[in-house]
Symmetry: C2
Subunit: 342 residues, 2 copies
Amino acid sequence: MPMARPTIADIAERAGVSKGAVSFALNGRPGVSEETRRRILAVADEMNWRPHRAARSLGNSRAGAVGLILSRPARTLGLEPFFGQVVSGLQAGLAEDGTALQLLVVEDPEAEMAAYRTWTAEKRVDGFVLLDPLIEDPRFPALEALEVPVMVLGGPLADTSLSFSWADDSEAMHEAVDYLAALGHRHVVHVAGMPQFLHTKRRMDVLTEAKERHELAEVVSIPTDYSDSEGAVITRRVLSRRDRPTAIVYDSDVMAVAGLGVALEMGVRVPQDLSILSFDDSLLARLTHPALTALTRDTQGWATEAARELLRLIADPTLTVRHQSSTPVLVPRESTAPPAGQ
Amino acid sequence: MPMARPTIADIAERAGVSKGAVSFALNGRPGVSEETRRRILAVADEMNWRPHRAARSLGNSRAGAVGLILSRPARTLGLEPFFGQVVSGLQAGLAEDGTALQLLVVEDPEAEMAAYRTWTAEKRVDGFVLLDPLIEDPRFPALEALEVPVMVLGGPLADTSLSFSWADDSEAMHEAVDYLAALGHRHVVHVAGMPQFLHTKRRMDVLTEAKERHELAEVVSIPTDYSDSEGAVITRRVLSRRDRPTAIVYDSDVMAVAGLGVALEMGVRVPQDLSILSFDDSLLARLTHPALTALTRDTQGWATEAARELLRLIADPTLTVRHQSSTPVLVPRESTAPPAGQ
DNA sequence: AAGCTCAGATAAAGCGGTTAAGTTGGGCCG
DNA sequence: CGGCCCAACTTAACCGCTTTATCTGAGCTT
């Protein structure tokens, strides 16, 4: 029969020291001589000891986990590659420290807020990662009030003490528009994401500004809910106009692929009659024919960096981290070309 | 300043009872009268009390979490919609009970095994969910030895005491092959998944058997690593033969989409010259043109059911659960048709 | 040699719950 | 009316680890 889980008391007995000494030794803090430390570590190793998580948490009031709470319809998780990337990226960063990732998917923002409160009150996690910051995000003040470490993926954020890690979407959007303008496009439609998202707004702002800079004839941003169906509907609508755009920028690859499908269905050739650019890259964008020109970024790496910053923040809650990760890069593929008649 | 987190001691004092009574009341177990219970609950509610997770775990030796450990290259997580579906499905089932899902992504099977051991030793979780059972899966005996509740997603499993929840892949594959045969296909290639996976083997077996049953001229299963690139390479190879197949069944939608791309690139028309069927459905399969005929199933619902079963198992570890979920269903779309010259 | 300091260890008090083992007092029985 | 039982509570131990005193003795000072 397997021996019961050893505790530090067992180690202490076997090593002939006190529980306290064992704790000091195992945590690498002063209070024991080097020699005793080595002896204790040897015994612990020999007995195959592992700290009991709950006991440790109770003792030092660290949960050893951080929370990620998503309020999107659950099925979105499987659809948007973004989530998988973020989750595995976060996980990688946290794992370096032995910290776990607790995931919760809820249906609405109220449930999300409730979960922040509950998990904080239960000391279930040491901090949170927030996705998709909104323009006037009600979660920010609430979380500030909870006085819990938070790392927002997105930004930059003003008017909040919360930490964030951002990528320069504006710059990336500039690059995209400059590229299209250089190709000779003057009628550009932007199929955007949810208008309340901060990054959606920033992208739309760049577009408005770009219109003047490049003396474009038309630049419109149309907000959506990120679904493939809205992407398709809007594409169908703008391609049905007499004065149709020669280029469309999509805020997600799912919408871009849906849009491409509509173009095919309507006999609009890509890229001859229409250029398509996706502000989001993934396998999806590469598997289509033609493959989609996209703004690509290392989402996973970004999330890993953010996770590390969050761990720093948890270690020292007085910090406010403002971290910037690399700017998305334009990867030209087959879906963009100069407009016909150019 | 915010009042410190209330503990049951605070509640006890305020309600004029002992800590024990409070614990009984809050957990709905006998030992207090209905009236006292109500009073205690009222006080707890008023003080906005939440149980401290670690304390509770230490007391009743339940971690209140289950683990999901994946050993796949981290990027796969973002690529395969399957994972997102499973994660959100599990999460939904566990949430009903307030149980959390701990996720870990590791690079290789050794690290996966190490994590099972560590998490069990640390009492970090109460049980595990296993994905992708292998034919002679070394994880099974190891986990049996650890004496920890486990629910395998896949099966059916023999020679193990582990519980599992399965969907009848064989039956589904039958349906797919019958359909193709009925359309008139006699040369069918199966671009399979990893050969060591149990479900890959079962699908391949069905195909072999189907060959005789339907008197097909050719039926080949070609194992792959599930990557889009292998899917493409193999498709290119089989389509280059003089005697090319008239239908290809892919074990994942990612490979199916990649295969469709190759067909387009080679001027092979789908479905006129080639029928494509995907043994896996997701947005991906629906967004392509033509949309892919696929075997579809409610992965998320399956995971939710499995999660519930795992909770039962944790409550009563003597159980061995054998749960069957619904069989995948064939959804004909545009990528399948009778072969040319039929 | 008395007085200090300080490293190296011990003992014991938590941390916030759960739970086994008492302790009451009222109702019911013969 | 004494004896018993049982529901309703209380006490206190315990879960496994951390952490804050507290203790001890060797080495230095003066």
